[in-house]
């Protein structure tokens, strides 16, 4: 049966089944529904979902989608929070989770080739015997894929000293939107030509699909120290963050949690967090022993000068793991406090943290919403969680209004729209708050060079009309 645009879903499914295997192509309603959403609040609809095993199968799926007049959407574990993997325009969803092999680990060149469906934490665990690791460590690292990290240029607590995903990807084998396969970047020191690798990372599946990824491996540090500082006021904690950065220290991680999230995490994992503190800082220093030791004393001095009540240094690996477990479980712990939460992601200059945090609390108060803050303070990367009960009539309007105000105060402070979650659908229409028409036009030109027909994850990142003569339509069938 053809739809009103002359497309035949049955023939599409048949072609996909012939190119892959019948069991790795799904077209039934319930399963399509599952793949209609990611970890955001948006919902779309797929025409078919397929699970390729190889680069050739991904390329075949892209070509079949095109032949049937469909766009395609790449998807990893679906942990994205900005709607980047939500299918728009009845696309073929190409799920990479079955491409989950670590193909090669080269400890001399310090590079590993992996398939896109490898889970972030599985990669780091597999590297441990080599004394190496993959530095990006998003809070979802137990579930998210390296392919998804590439698509979103993911971060994580340890990106403060080591940089986000882009700094850890050397080369990418990609299926381009026309179905051809090529290699971007390279393992040599200065690969030829434009940094196409660099623009592909973070492009949220709109420039093609990565099918093999060469990640840079980081040597495990010989010495690590993890400190927990607690404060009677959020301002004191934020001032300490600025003091540490201004003091010339570059911690491996510098995380902040406010009272409510600290209490929730403590009840959840019993890390020994002080539940009466207004804010705690989790600071990790790594490197060679003397530098780490001096850093610990410097952080202690700066913290005490800004009113830290106690400075706890983890005595051993077990205690350090426990302190981190509290931080990494924070979002899960929130489920004990409210049925729903909306997690935001903006970045402000680190010197403006104090004032922006104060505004975030005021905005939540004004909209009568609970708010918690657990975030990458060293990067200035805020993650306010707005707590609510979706069954309460009218609450979503307040949640969205508060969210937009949080974005606006972040931008007013010289910040940006997203630090690590990406734009996707969630912030697409907020892009003009950060970029002018000429800026958006330049981004649209890049996309056009890779995908002149607009078939790769259409309608994401850029608002309609970003390019002169843009024919991109408002998403159909997307429910927020």
């Amino acid at each position: 049966m053809e739809d009103q645009r002359g497309r035949d879903p049955g023939a599409l499914a048949a072609d996909l089944r012939a190119a892959l295997t019948p069991d790795r192509v799904r077209t039934e309603g319930v399963e399509l529904g599952l793949y209609g959403r990611d970890a955001s609040v948006m919902t779309g609809a797929a025409a078919a979902v397929c699970f390729p095993l190889t680069t050739d199968e991904v390329a075949a799926a892209v070509r079949i989608a095109r032949r049937h007049g469909r766009p395609f959407v790449a998807r990893g574990s679906g942990t994205g929070l900005a709607g980047g993997a939500v299918p728009v325009g009845d696309p073929v969803v190409i799920v990479t989770t079955k491409m989950d092999r670590i193909l090669e680990v080269d400890p001399v060149d310090r590079v590993a080739w992996v398939q896109p469906g490898v889970i972030n934490l599985d990669l780091t665990r597999a590297l441990a015997p080599h004394g190496l690791h993959f530095a990006p460590d998003p809070s979802s690292q137990q579930a998210c894929t390296v392919g998804g990290n590439v698509a979103n240029n993911s971060g994580g607590p340890h990106c403060l000293a080591y940089g986000v995903t882009s700094a850890h990807v050397l080369a990418l084998e990609v299926v381009l939107p026309d179905g051809s396969v090529t290699l971007l970047g390279g393992l040599d020191a200065e690969p030829a030509g434009l940094d196409l690798r660099g623009v592909f990372v973070g492009s949220e599946g709109t420039l093609g699909i990565a099918t093999r990824i060469a990640v840079r491996l980081t040597p495990d540090p010989p010495a690590v120290a993890t400190l927990l500082l607690d404060f009677d006021s959020v301002d004191d904690a934020a001032e300490t963050v600025s003091g540490i950065i201004a003091g010339g220290l570059l911690p491996a991680a510098l995380e902040m949690m406010d009272r409510r999230i600290t209490q929730a995490a403590e009840e959840f994992v019993h890390a020994g967090y002080p539940t009466d503190a207004a804010a705690v800082l989790l600071v990790e220093l790594d490197g060679l022993p003397a530098g780490v030791g001096a850093g610990v004393e410097q952080v202690r001095t700066i913290g005490l000068a800004h009113g830290a009540r106690t400075v706890r240094v983890a005595a051993d690996d077990a205690e350090r793991a426990l302190l981190w477990k509290g931080r990494k479980s924070a979002f899960g712990a929130v489920a004990r406090l409210a049925p729903n939460y909306y997690l935001h992601d903006t970045v402000v200059p680190r010197t403006r943290l104090c004032e922006v945090l104060a505004q975030v609390y005021a905005i939540a108060d004004r909209h009568d919403l609970g708010v918690m803050n657990v975030f990458h303070a060293g990067d200035g990367n805020l993650h306010p969680l707005l707590l609510f009960d979706a069954r309460e009539p009218g609450v979503m309007e307040r949640v969205h209004a508060a969210g937009e105000e949080i974005v606006q105060v972040s931008l007013d402070a010289g910040g940006v729209l997203s630090g690590e979650h990406g734009i996707g659908l969630e912030k697409r229409d907020l892009m003009p708050l950060l970029f002018g028409p000429d800026d958006l036009d330049a981004q649209a030109r890049l996309r056009e060079a890779f995908d002149p027909d607009g078939v790769a994850n259409p309608t994401k990142i850029l608002p309609a009309g970003s390019r002169c003569g843009d024919l991109q339509s408002v998403p159909e069938g997307v429910w927020v």
Binding site: D109, D195, G414, A449
Partner: protein, 339 residues
């Protein structure tokens, strides 16, 4: 941002002019002028504005105009105990080293030039001012055009003003040299700032806490040295780190002892003869053609220079004139004596 800044960028845009204002070439310090082929002689020369706009020491970022020399920027940053991971070849400008994208000798410790750029204000081929990226150290708001600009040789847009990530100056640093095996050393030492090798002698730069530098020095078995060796030139090769041991072999290898200095753990080789041309996938060539076509359809920005040619690649880029042999820098002039 101050109106003076906006004024300088807008004035630069006016100088570049609209799409029909003819071929135009952005000139920095001319320290790497030949990389990617020479600019055609009919191109009108323009210079990006200079000056430090805002040094945000507590944010560890700096907003600087592209015409500023790296040396001047470094001097200002040193006053607040910071530096920037850009090579400071004599007279090289911020815009110039970003356009070429070649790293200095501290690449092993500092990482590549491409990771330094946070935000850029550029002038497009039709004379508009466009912002790419953002001023914060972390940002995934839209396409990462900053990565595209680094190494693009000014063929897509001319950079007028940038925000760069800075880094703390290390409390101590020390150059060492001797005959230890560099490939063992690069594994054994923790994050050395540089390991260099000419087939016979190994040089190492250590930085960090003085006690750590002392301990790592003892571990290395090398003796103190004045600094890095003079670099052979004028060619610059790009290899995988694991390809370097073969350079020191017999006379059949492309270099041979004394004819090259290799950056161990990185793969850059400074050599007296050109690198073997590398094949480039036709799909990559086609992407280059399409990207150039959308950003500079009239081909007026730095005509004659090509990013693929810069890397010694053979990709079948069509040009009106035969590209010149890629040149490279002949010396590293950053003050290696420490803060």
């Amino acid at each position: 941002m101050s109106s003076a800044t906006t004024g300088a960028v807008e004035a630069f845009a006016a100088e570049v002019g609209p799409a029909d204002a003819g071929p135009v070439s952005a000139v920095g310090g001319r320290t790497q002028w030949g990389v990617g082929g020479g600019v055609t002689p009919d191109a009108r020369e323009v210079r990006a504005p200079a000056g430090i706009v805002a040094l945000e020491a507590a944010d560890m970022t700096v907003r600087v105009r592209a015409g500023t020399t790296v040396a001047e920027l470094d001097a200002a940053l040193a006053e607040v105990g910071q530096t920037v991971a850009l090579p400071a070849w004599d007279g090289a400008t911020v815009g110039g080293v970003l356009a070429v994208g070649h790293s200095g000798l501290r690449r092993l410790g500092w990482g590549p030039v491409r990771d330094v750029l946070l935000e850029a204000r550029v002038v497009t081929a039709d004379g508009r001012v466009v912002k790419a990226g953002g001023p914060t150290v972390k940002n995934v708001s839209g396409y990462d055009l900053c990565r595209l600009l680094v190494g693009s040789l000014g063929t897509l847009a001319f950079t007028a003003e940038v925000v760069l990530r800075t880094r703390p100056l290390p409390p101590a640093e020390r150059w060492l040299a001797g005959d230890a095996d560099p490939f063992t050393l690069v594994e054994r030492l923790y994050r050395p700032a540089a390991v260099l090798w000419d087939g016979t002698t190994t040089w190492v730069l250590l930085d960090g806490h003085p006690d750590d530098v002392a301990a790592q020095s003892a571990l290395s078995g090398l003796a103190d040295a004045d600094g890095p060796p003079a670099l052979p030139g004028p060619h610059r090769w790009s290899l995988r780190p694991s390809e370097l041991p073969a350079l020191g072999g017999d006379g059949s290898s492309p270099g041979g002892p004394g004819r090259f200095v290799a950056e161990v753990g990185v793969g850059v080789v400074h050599a007296d003869r050109p690198a073997r041309p590398r094949p480039v996938d036709p799909h990559v060539v086609e992407l280059h053609r399409r990207i150039k076509a959308v950003f500079d359809p009239g081909g007026r920005l730095n005509p004659g220079r090509h990013a693929l040619v810069a890397a010694g690649a053979e990709g079948g880029m069509t040009t009106n004139r035969r590209p010149q042999t890629p040149e490279s820098v002949t010396s590293e002039r950053r003050n290696e004596g420490g803060p």
